[in-house]
Amino acid sequence: MPIGILLWCMFALLALALAAICIATRRYATPILYAASALICGVALFTASVNLIAGSPATLAFPLGLPWIGAHFRLDALSSFFLVIVNLGAMAASLYGIGYGQHESAPARVLPFFPAFLAGMNLVLMADDAFTFLLSWEFMSLASWALVMAHHRAPETMRAGYVYILMASAGTFALLLAFGLLAGPDGSYGFAAIRASHPTPLLAALVLLLALVGAGSKAGLVPLHVWLPLAHPAAPSHVSALMSGVMTKVAIYAFIRIVFDLLGPPQWWWGIVVLMLGGASALMGVLYALFQTDLKRVLAYSTIENIGFIFVGLGLALAFRADGFEAAAALALTAALFHAFNHSLLKSLLFFGSGAVLTATGQRDMDALGGLIHRMPITAFAVLAGCFGISALPPFNAFASEWLTFQAILLSPELPQWGLKLVVPAVGALLALSVALAAACFVRLFGITFLGRARTAAVASAHEADKFSLSAMLALATFCLLAGIFPGFVIDAIGPVIQDVIGAHMPTQASVPWLSIVPIAQSRSSYNGLLVFVFIAMSAAMTATAIHILASRKTRRSPIWDGGFPDASPVLQYSANSFAQPIRRVFGAILFRAREEIAMPPPGDMSPARLQIHLQDIIWDVLYVPIASAVGFVADRLNIFQFLTIRRYLSLVFVALVTLLLVLAIWR
């Protein structure tokens, strides 16, 4: 029984967390614990994949938790699919951790929470009542918070942890309210009972908004994304990979579970809300990413962009479903889930790569790196594959999923509402723009970090990562390539999920000849990853051969021009900020109030003039600063209540009691 095996796995992970508390300081603890968690996640991954392909929904109830509710677990296609994502990422992160964890300065702060975090994410996916769901959700949040705070002495980590725990609490609170509304006055917190009830349109809209706040804040939807670029880089790199690649997918799951499964039939305008938030996230995320120089922050912001992409898919699915276009809804949801899967692989891979660079050089700032392709060739190769993938270049996986999203967008003229007819193409344009900018962003990331020449001495003497880390990265890169070459199999694997959620699914792709994928009809569009791959491989090989034969035997004298480097100093190379300058000037002037300033030294000072760049985060200034100052104001006013005399406290109780009685007397 798969659900039993999976729950045993979670039990094992929790036991591992307890064991880690006892032995975390020993030297042998790191490899043993990570290997054990990789093994457990492997078992869970296998069980979930088998269940996804050929499984029927199963439920299991434990007499734990609240007395009259208990703890209910359920395993259906949707949770199986997300269990595959979570456990694949978790397994890779554990494998990576075997090597990466050796460099950890405080393993006792990471080892116990790592398996607990994995267990929390898995339990969220299997929960079948609101209480278990929220408990697991909060457990996941707190475990990840503890991991973020692993290196808690750094001031930016403290700030990150503070912002994260605030946003996580607010998100959980929103979900709590959403489930409260769904459960209704009878307090039926089981998902089966919630599914059977039908909320009024107003109530359903409220639940949608609360789910957007709750799941969106965890996923990193603009404008609830502020914690993400702070917290994800602060954690150890394999945890960053999990948080960015996997935990955001748990949030997507929560959104799908609530809005598609529990909430009943959607209204057409729900799609507009989700689409607009998704489009804004995609564009803002990638613009933010372009202006960062911290490697891990770039990746965190890129997560926001991809989450936006996924939410656009979800919004399209909602819109199509509300209007009864089951097939189109199936296409959009497939695209969203496929992209979620791809992004979990790609973002884990890229965070692993940044972790390898961080261990080798001690640097996260791109402007201090450079030329690492010579020192870390295999890491560079894996990261290059990840950059190809996340820039949506064929034949990698993200191309297939983003292409499917655009296919769904192209179906929008069939929608009857003018609101949707207008919004969907606009969001499509936003997506197209953000895909192009993402490509620029990752050209910049790879080029500044791995190409050119080393900018600091530590980088020049960097060493290649250990073989566990490398194997984790290469495995993920292979998965990315395979999913890109054979997207049809992934789409077919997602089929049961879509059938469950929408009630229809995309045509089976395995039967299409030559491994093409045909989302709607052969006459409209088709894509063949294998063909593209073969073409690219062959043309690249032919070009390389031609160059080799024709060019490289000739001895050439180098010209005086020096290949663009007249001075030998590496400072003169293209830097991360200079690469982003054109885009910053075009987009940043309004959205980020970007200003460039030349700081001249005072007369007589021989130091060079510096170009300074000032960016302002408008969302932070407009949305969060007023909230923070309002809370601070109210807290200051309420502070006196902490220092009252006993009599005044008694009087307060007395007055409160009398007031309540008065209300009762008047109101009844």
Binding site: F643, T645, R647, L650, V653, F654, L661, A665, R668
Partner: protein, 220 residues
């Protein structure tokens, strides 16, 4: 259940409220303690009458607990404590008596208005009893709020407990456990607050709780 049974139950519960009013304006500690003893005697009479008309012999136990502990034991011990603390001559400012009484009358009116509405379908005796009990509870709170001396706050708290006992016994079928627990909670509160009083006294040479505020640097 009409006639003399109901009338006497009503009379006793009403007397309890009346005695609570008497406690409100006592500015000497001895007088306050004596009135509290009277309060407990009226309570035990009321509970005893309830035991008689409800035909529930276990309520007699509650009545005797009230008589022995609350009407005799606790007042005697508090008397001694006051002598030991040397505050038996102190006169406590209770604020304007007229105003306190008016507030008390308002509270009784409020509790009657609330309880008679809320318990519309319930047994007549229980309704009256619970309404009076709520008045006694509110008056006990009012005593606690208007006093500065820790001993009189303790007395106010215990008269509040008496109101709870009245409520618990007024309804039919309330198990004995409730009464015992209430009695014990009073006892424990009495012991704890007694010890607390001596600790305050040891440290500050007074049982005026303003001393605590001064100690926290909060002169108000």
């Amino acid at each position: 259940m009409h006639g003399i049974d109901f009338d006497i139950a009503h009379l006793l519960a009403g007397s309890l409220v009346l005695v609570s009013f008497m406690m409100l304006y006592q500015d000497r500690l001895y007088a306050l303690l004596n009135i509290y003893a009277l309060h407990a005697v009226v309570l035990s009479l009321s509970v005893g009458w309830q035991a008689h008309i409800q035909d529930a012999p276990h309520l007699f136990i509650t009545a005797s607990i009230a008589l022995l502990f609350k009407a005799i034991f606790i007042p005697i011990v508090l008397h001694r404590m006051i002598v030991k603390l040397g505050i038996h001559r102190e006169i406590e400012a209770v604020g304007s008596i007229g105003l306190t009484m008016l507030v008390g009358i308002g509270l009784v009116g409020l509790s009657l208005a609330v309880m008679l509405k809320v318990t519309a379908g319930a047994d007549l005796v229980a309704r009256e009893d619970i309404a009076f009990a709520l008045s006694v509870v509110l008056l006990g709170l009012l005593i606690m709020v208007t006093r500065r001396n820790a001993v009189s706050q303790v007395v106010g708290f215990m008269s509040l407990e008496n109101g709870l006992v009245l409520a618990a016994t007024g309804a039919k079928g309330m198990p004995l456990v409730v009464e015992i627990s209430v009695a014990f909670s009073v006892l424990i509160a009495f012991i704890v607050i007694g010890i607390f009083l001596f600790r305050i006294r040891e440290r500050f040479d007074t049982v005026d709780v303003r001393a605590l505020d001064r100690f926290r640097g909060e002169q108000r």
